[in-house]
């Protein structure tokens, strides 16, 4: 769904304004973040998504206070916290390595933050058992942290960060060390905990599938810049530029010429001569040569007709669906994903001639 009006009325939890972060000096200086601005709303599950080295973890560390921005401001509920040390920020972090204290038990780990805040013993005990119940780790409260499994350590790290009831919870690729099945379970668990606690989550991941399934909104980052911010639906269906389209899911790129624009919808001519309508990326080109993207599931392979055509080069069976790789007449590759039915095959074999029918409203013109 597009962002509802109600969402934008929510209070802003975190705002990063024009953040620049450089490491090193002179010729060796590395610009990790380049003029990044982000608004994260209260109770939002916000994901920073990008390949390694894109600056997403640096941005998280800036919010946590482990690094200080070279330029720009970080506001937490309107208050600039960019200069505060981490122990004075009401945010907590779930570390990628979990960073559990090896000399303390599970319960002592969870109690640590509350003890540092000077809470009473009774309050700490109550809160610790409450949070351990939330992550379903009550039975192992007395265990040492080297006596628990990776998945359990993950839950303890989460409980430890949640215990002081932070205004914002920062999660640095917390699921990357878990195996596939456990990761899927924890994704659902994390969503449940976010709903139960109502805490704003800022989640860092390089896994686009994880980002799509868990997030309310996603910021796609590359090379220290934010390329697009939007709901998973926005990011997937209306990628703003080539990187986003390529990084999130599978995509077909088609060269085209924009003929004209009306009401935000462009009329484009493909190399085959067919004319289709395509939505315009925000701030995208309105005329001349452009790239159009079409998701594989938004097109069908047909025996006759279709806006473009080519020869089937490969048919890959995936269980739920089949990918048909069509080499278009202009030389480009187009992949079509078709749902499988129990009774019949996709109907195409390698070498067959196939037309490609693009769904109405499925095409999107990229910015560049």
């Amino acid at each position: 769904m597009p962002e509802s009006a109600g969402a934008s009325e929510k209070r802003v939890a975190i705002e990063a304004r024009g953040i620049v972060k450089t490491f090193g000096q002179g010729a060796n200086a590395l610009r990790a973040l380049d003029n990044v601005s982000i608004v994260i709303r209260e109770n939002e599950f916000f994901t920073l998504l990008g390949p390694s080295g894109c600056g997403k973890t640096t941005l998280l560390r800036l919010i946590a206070g482990f690094e200080y921005p070279t330029e720009g401001a970080i506001l937490l509920y309107g208050e600039d916290i960019a200069g505060l040390p981490p122990f004075k920020r009401p945010v907590n972090t779930v570390f990628q390595s979990y960073a559990l204290f090896p000399h303390l038990t599970v319960a002592e780990n969870v109690a640590f933050g509350l003890q540092m805040l000077g809470r009473s013993k009774a309050e700490i005990d109550a809160r610790v058992s409450e949070v351990l119940a939330l992550v379903r780790m009550q039975e192992l409260a007395a265990r040492r942290t080297d006596q628990i499994s990776g998945g359990q350590a993950q839950r303890v790290a989460l409980a430890r960060a949640l215990a002081p009831s932070p205004k914002v919870l920062l999660l640095d690729e917390p699921l990357s060390a878990l195996d596939y099945k456990l990761r899927k379970e924890m994704q659902i668990e994390l969503k449940r905990m976010q709903a139960e606690t109502g805490i704003t989550f800022v989640f860092v991941t390089h896994d686009q599938e994880e980002a799509l399934t868990m997030s309310d909104r996603i910021a796609v980052m590359s090379k220290g810049r934010v390329l697009q911010i939007g709901s998973p639906w926005d990011i997937y269906d209306k990628p703003a530029d080539r990187f986003v389209a390529d990084f999130i899911g599978e995509t077909n790129f088609l060269s085209a010429i924009v003929l004209g624009v009306a009401d935000g919808v462009a009329k484009v001519r493909l190399t085959s001569g067919a004319e289709i309508s395509a939505t315009l990326a925000e701030g995208g080109v309105a005329e001349g040569e452009a790239t159009v993207v079409v998701r594989p599931e938004h097109a069908r392979a047909v025996k006759d007709g279709g806006q473009i055509a080519g020869v089937v080069e490969n048919v890959v069976y995936f269980g739920t669906d089949t990918h048909i790789h069509v080499r278009l007449d202009d030389g480009e590759m187009f992949i079509v994903r078709q749902q499988n039915s129990r009774t019949q095959s996709c109907g195409f074999e390698v070498g067959d001639r196939a037309g490609v029918e693009i769904d109405a409203d499925a095409a999107q013109v990229l910015k560049d």
Binding site: F87, A99, H103, F112, G113, M116
Partner: protein, 307 residues
């Protein structure tokens, strides 16, 4: 034909025999060089002292042990505590303790500094720390004398700045011994501390800061517990040689400020009281063993939680 079981047991026997044969040289050295002399020392401490040193074999007496803590008045035979010995024991323990604490206070930040340097520069710092070992202890001690004597660097500097009018009498005081021991034993504290701190996962420090622990609390609640094996090892490595120090109190403390090492030397040398010397040596060893037991207990407790 031997059965399989017989071959197996034969092989086992051969293995056991080989194991003993292979460890024989090490065992021999331990018995001849370490445990044997200990028994000789123990035996000597129960013998009658010879007139010109040595002992009278076959004549046994408790005088050696008796004189460790007590003395008999030469006129009326009343027993009193051997004040001189007790004050030397006290000085040894006090100065060793102060040396340990001082090297810990100086060594901890030093080791932390080295452990937080980039990996390739750490080796250089460790190397720098070990450089004093290349110089003979006696020479280092005389060098220290040049620093702290009345006309030495410290006094000249203080006088030049105008802090003092008269030179501070540091030489031949307990302070001189303390300075000397801290200087000489500091590397023994820094190296094990550094070894522990190098293994410290600094992400845990970040986690501490993240959970509202200030700098002091992170130090107290996270860093110190995690490097405690290094603290204990360093303390033992400094405390034990400090207790038995000989050269440093001799050179810097002068004749009056003796420590246990000097007292033992005195009994074997000019004092010509070998049984007392032997008894004192064993007493020193017991003190060291008490310190070691303390170490082992702590090390096994913290060693169980982390390497």
């Amino acid at each position: 034909m031997a059965s399989a079981a017989e071959i197996a047991s034969q092989a086992r026997r051969t293995e056991v025999r080989d194991r003993w044969l292979l460890s024989a040289p090490a065992l021999l050295i331990i018995f001849v060089a370490a445990i044997g002399p200990l028994f000789v020392m123990l035996a000597y401490s129960f013998m009658v002292k010879g007139d010109y040193g040595d002992v009278k074999f076959g004549q046994y007496s408790l005088d050696g042990w008796f004189s460790v803590f007590l003395q008999r008045d030469i006129f009326d035979d009343t027993l009193t505590f051997a004040d001189a010995h007790l004050s030397i024991f006290w000085r040894s323990i006090k100065l060793s303790f102060l040396t340990t604490v001082s090297t810990l206070l100086l060594g901890f930040p030093t080791a932390y500094f080295i452990a937080t340097r980039p990996r390739h520069t750490r080796e250089i710092w460790v190397f720098l720390v070990t450089i004093p070992f290349w110089t003979n202890l006696l020479i280092r001690t005389f060098a220290m004398q040049q620093v702290i004597r009345n006309e030495g660097i410290v006094n000249s500097l203080l006088r030049w700045v105008g802090v003092i009018d008269e030179p501070l009498q540091i030489m031949h005081t307990d302070w001189a011994i303390l300075f000397g021991m801290v200087y000489v034993y500091l590397p023994l504290m820094v190296l094990p501390l550094y070894a522990s701190m190098e293994k410290l996962d600094f992400r845990l420090v970040e986690a501490g800061y993240d959970l509202y622990a200030g700098r002091l609390q992170v130090l107290r609640r996270i860093i110190i517990p995690l490097v405690s094996p290094g603290i204990i090892a360093g303390s033992i490595l400094v405390f034990i040689p400090s207790l038995g120090a000989y050269v440093i109190p001799r050179v810097l403390g002068g004749g009056k400020n003796m420590m246990l090492g000097n007292l033992i030397e005195l009994q074997f040398g000019a004092g010509r009281n070998w049984p007392l010397g032997a008894a004192l040596s064993i007493t020193l060893m017991v003190l060291v063993m008490v310190a070691l037991l303390f170490y082992v207990r702590n090390a096994s407790r913290s060693g169980a939680t982390h390497g």
